[in-house]
Amino acid sequence: MRFTRLAATAAIAVLAMSAAACGGDKADKGSNGDPVAKPSFAAGTKMDTLNKAGKVTIGTKFDQPGFGLKGLDGKPAGFDVEIAKLIAAELGISADKIEWVETPSKVREEVIEQGKVDFVVATYTINDTRKQKIDFAGPYYEAGQALMVRKDDNSITGPDSLKEGSKKVCSVTGSTPAVNIEKYIKDKAAQLVLFDTYDKCRDALKNKQVDAVTTDNVILLGYVARDEASFKLAGDTFTKEPYGIGVKKGDNEFRTFINNTLEKINTDGRYKKAWDATAGKFAPAPTMPAVNRY
């Protein structure tokens, strides 16, 4: 039973893809996020419900430059936002029919479980703890944790430079990078500072209160791009943070649909276009990692 439904979904997804391929030149002319002409989905699926309703609620971050940052016009902008718009487009929903909900790291699983949003695109690292509560489509991007230091500081070459115990590092309270970096630190009380935003970490780095700021490389690249005279990245990334799209646990049809959509937008160039328009301003275009259909 389950198998046949999956097979049906897959068949419909293929149909939808070919249908969209016909209207491909339309997508090229317009900006990202033009809805697909007339997608049709198997009755009773999440895709069908959303398509019929003509609107979708999407969770993203409002404070991540390059990924999801709320602008003065009140609308979020960034790579995550573009990816979300493309998925909505594949559902036949135009960008102005999307309701954006701010989902900071702490509430992401909850809003998905409670059905307050249809899916979440919010620099959302796929990991096993989270998979117990929700399911992930993607990944659509792979970030990695890195260190940002002052431009003239050559004493830090990577996280191992923190081990001898005198270098101080800053990150954001309750974030995964803040927990990851503890492995490389000798004395938490003397070496680790946590603030509520990365802006405060950047200021502390500039004022020499700390020697490094650590989080995902894309966020740091955003800061380096804005102040190249003061900052640089030290060493390579030392973790892998595959960003996925959070959906309700067990909704395999919707997950498959999003995975198909991601592969499709990668193939037809909309993925790169979305990147170039947003995070591409400070980081070279990535190759999309292979989606993980677990």
Binding site: S105, R130, S175, T176, K188, A189
Partner: protein, 235 residues
């Protein structure tokens, strides 16, 4: 509820950091608050003005602003609270001696803010001492300092101890802010870490954190009740 057991070590270490922060700030606030109270009742008008100004500023400013000022403005003018790196004491409270100033700055912020309330609680106690006591002491030839030291403050202290206790309990709860101004590993930042990076459900974690604060505040409250009762008998 398994969260409480699973991460009990984090809760315990968070409790100790908060406890240290509160203990140091409470001592600081009592000392500074008493000094300000003495200024406010001193016979010299300029000193009274200084005391009044202090209370007006720190009682009316939100604690978040005081914290913000201490954590981010003081370091830029070179104040890192290094005077708190007291030998021996920094062996006992290791965070006092670290290179990172944020624990010391949080102690300073909580001390300055709470001192205003301590001052007012003490002053209420001083006002409760009948004027005849101070007058009698003065007629015996005691100086202002002797008067305070031997006659007024010992009596004022008794009347003030219960409101002072309330001030300290409020301060313990206020200390939760420190976790958001660079102090790593106190109770509130443990909550943030577990619910954020740890992905643990919010309610059980917050129950655990609340227990941490209750361990400090409830015994203090009970102690105050006892002191109050004993004093009632003594009268």
């Amino acid at each position: 509820m398994d969260v409480l057991i699973k991460y009990s070590d984090q809760f315990v270490s968070g409790f100790w950091v908060t406890f240290q922060l509160c203990l140091l700030s409470a001592i600081g606030a009592l000392v500074v608050g008493t000094a300000v109270a003495v200024l406010r009742i001193s016979p010299v008008p300029p000193l009274r003005a200084v005391g009044t100004a202090y209370v007006t500023v720190f009682r009316n400013m939100p604690l978040t602003i005081v914290m913000f000022f201490c954590a981010f403005a003081l370091p830029t003018i070179g104040v890192n609270g290094n005077f708190l790196k007291i030998p021996l004491l920094d062996q006992l409270f290791r965070r006092l001696g670290t290179d990172l100033p944020f624990f010391r700055l949080a102690v300073i912020a909580l001390t300055l803010y709470t001192a205003a309330f301590v001052c007012e609680a003490l002053r209420a106690g001083i006002n409760a001492v009948p004027a005849g006591q101070a007058e009698a002491a003065r007629s015996l030839g005691l100086t202002f300092t002797q008067n305070l030291r031997h006659v007024v403050l010992p009596q004022a202290w008794k009347a003030a101890i219960v409101p002072l206790g309330s001030v300290i309990i409020a301060m313990i709860k206020n200390s939760a802010l420190a976790g958001f101004f660079g102090v790593v590993g106190d109770l509130s930042s443990v909550a943030d870490r577990l619910t954020g990076a740890g992905g643990e459900p919010i309610i059980p974690v917050f129950i655990g954190i609340s227990i941490g604060y209750l361990i400090m505040t409830i015994p203090l409250g009970l102690l105050l009740d006892r002191i109050e009762k004993r004093r009632a008998v003594a009268r």
